[in-house]
């Protein structure tokens, strides 16, 4: 029997959060953590968590599993369970709405702040804008972000200043547009980032890289933004 310890909090009935213990019979199968949660929800339907695609592309089910952020649907028990014990907590650093559901408003606000859309002030051609395969390759490792917030909520700098530091996810997207040969708003984008918080709160801790379920590297993207800022301002 797998011992599962889950963070519980229902603001309507609980004055404070607590950890609830469950036992799950996995019958020796190496299930995904999400499968275990579904089994638990059948035992206790009041358990709240988000999920959608169950294949690691929608980014709904970011969670803290045995101390490390990840997506429950693509994390096998064998990757996280230690001593037959699984501890599930909500993503750290964001307000808890209920149980494992966090309020992601601040995370989305930071995403919106970097103007996450192509800006191009030239008239659009009748067909597509051309882009060489080499220029397109520059977007690889950037556009794949699924906004699961695993990285930003693993980042101490984001914990301290979630209202001011854009965070690894938002900055990865900021660089996705800076790196796009079709975007013409580089200067405008950079001028919005050149304050002591937005980019420069990154201390290179690299928790973001360690937890990203898509294997992306926000720290490298942040480094590239700094290089652009430097090149632009000196």
């Amino acid at each position: 029997m797998l011992q599962v310890s889950i963070y519980r909090y229902n603001p309507e009935t609980d004055s404070a959060p607590y950890m609830q213990e469950f036992q799950v019979d996995t019958q020796g199968r190496d299930l995904m953590v999400l499968n275990v949660m579904e089994m638990l929800k059948e035992q206790d339907s009041s358990l709240a968590y988000r999920r959608s695609c169950r294949e690691g592309v929608c980014g709904s089910d970011g969670m803290n599993m045995n101390g490390k952020n990840g997506l429950t649907c693509v994390t096998a028990l064998s990757e996280v369970v230690k001593d037959n014990k699984l501890v599930l907590r909500p993503l750290p650093g964001l307000p808890v709405v209920r149980d494992l559901v966090v309020d992601m408003s601040l995370f989305y606000k930071q995403y919106e702040r970097i103007q996450p859309y192509l800006l191009n002030d030239t008239p659009a051609p009748a067909i597509e804008r051309l882009q060489s395969p080499e220029d397109r390759d520059k977007l690889d490792g950037l556009y794949e972000c699924i906004l699961c917030a695993c990285c930003s909520t693993a980042c101490p700098s984001f914990w301290w200043n979630p209202d001011k530091f854009v965070g690894p996810s938002g900055l990865l997207q900021a660089y996705r547009f800076l790196a796009d040969s079709r975007d013409t708003a580089t200067e405008e984008r950079l001028s919005e980032l050149d304050d002591p918080f937005s980019v420069f709160r990154c201390r290179g801790i690299m928790n973001c890289v360690a937890v990203c379920p898509k294997g992306l590297n926000p720290t490298r993207a942040i480094g590239k933004i700094r290089e652009l800022l430097l090149a632009n301002a000196t």
């Binding site: 301290w160 050149d194 304050d195 420069f200 700094r226």
Partner: protein, 115 residues
């Protein structure tokens, strides 16, 4: 753009550059000092003050002091904005650090060029 008025330069980039440049100055100064001390195992007061009679050494030292002040200010300002959430505490701490760094700097100048 996040507004702020108490950081060094109002720009994250120049703070970032300054912190790195000052770090390099401090590293060079430290290496020089350690090397100097190793080469002079029986260092006495005359030799030591002789070193600081040299104008180049005074300028080098002053540069290091300024670097320390800038480096410390940027670092401690960051620490304050990370961990000190009550405004009065944070602002008080920042004023204290500025005053302290200013006094140390003036004191340093006095030591270098004083009697």
């Amino acid at each position: 753009m996040v507004n702020n008025i108490t950081n060094f330069s109002r720009s994250g980039l120049s703070d970032w550059v300054l912190q790195r440049v000052s770090a390099v100055i401090l590293a060079v100064y430290s290496v020089f000092m350690v090397g100097y001390l190793l080469l002079h195992p029986n260092l006495d007061y005359t030799t030591w003050s002789g070193l600081f009679e040299n104008t180049a050494m005074r300028v080098f030292s002053l540069m290091a002091f300024i670097a320390i002040a800038a480096h410390a200010w940027i670092g401690l300002w960051t620490v304050a904005t990370d961990y000190m959430k009550p405004t009065a505490l944070r602002l008080g701490f920042q004023i204290f650090v500025i005053l302290a760094l200013f006094i140390f700097l003036v004191w340093g100048v006095q030591v270098l060029w004083g009697a």
